[in-house]
């Protein structure tokens, strides 16, 4: 699955990767790889600006630590980020159910 196919869903994926606790940028990528069985093909370098964008939006906060003499930036969800993730999850469920119904010729489920 390529980066352009993820347009509009990257924020939700990053927020979900931080749901279990603070992670640094590379750990976020590894968590996404693990969660998707390695099917996401995101250029790792573009994750970092995306994390900073979420931080500017107040959905996550970043803090520095020092590990093995190197500065590392960890991110964690804010309460606003947790609410945004919940909203994005339910929007995705609706979207996914609607498109699946259309593609597979099933009746569209009632909105939750």
């Amino acid at each position: 699955m390529r980066a352009e196919e993820l347009k509009g869903h990257l924020d939700a994926l990053l927020l979900a990767a931080l749901e279990d606790g603070p992670r640094h940028g590379y750990a976020v990528i590894e968590a996404l790889r693990q969660a998707t069985g390695g099917r996401l093909e995101l250029p790792t370098g573009t994750i970092y600006p995306a994390l900073r964008r979420l931080e500017q939006a107040g959905l996550i906060t970043g803090s520095w630590s020092v590990v093995a003499g190197r500065r590392r930036r960890d991110y964690q969800l804010t309460p606003g980020g947790a609410r945004a993730l919940s909203g994005k999850r339910s929007a995705w469920r609706d979207f996914s159910a609607t498109i699946s119904a259309a593609l597979e010729g099933r009746p569209c489920p009632e909105p939750a």
Binding site: T44, G45, Y48, P49, R53, Q56
Partner: protein
Amino acid sequence: MPGTSLISDYLTTLSAQLPEDVVEELADGLDLARQHYLRQGLDPDAAASAALAEFGEPQVIMAAFTRLSPIRHAARRLLATGPVVGACWAGALITGRAWTWPLPSAARPLFGVVLIIVIGLLATAAFGRNYRPVSRSGTAGCVGIGLLDTALIVTVAVALPAVIWPLALAVTASAVRLMFAARVTLRARCSV
């Protein structure tokens, strides 16, 4: 250490444009990626190459950070609101018969030249594609707009015989913009 010179060159390219803390974060991520590939059994050069391939082109990363730059957003906001503040001043200066004010003859053309330069700087920041020029032009543009607003407010305070409401409105608009420009300039020094 073999392989690390490839990463070092990549980071040098990034640090020519991006702030130090961003490059530090990317350096940490690249090192973690390199270690990941070393654990998978790649030799040091191949591990470094794989880490760099995983991160993608530096130009793509730099462009993404440039789009995020707060000074770029501030420059766009100042350009968008500029005509409103300008209209307030135009109305105020016409109502206050500004052409009769006792100002040095060079003051008006000097103000016009500085205003054009400031608009050019803000436009460069608002639409530029490289982080460093965007940041520098935006900061200079914010300082410039602050100086112009200060000059207008001081001129009115010194030259105007009586306060009229259009002028009070224009001064308020300039004061708000001045505070915004000052806050952006200060924040830009310590964030992406």
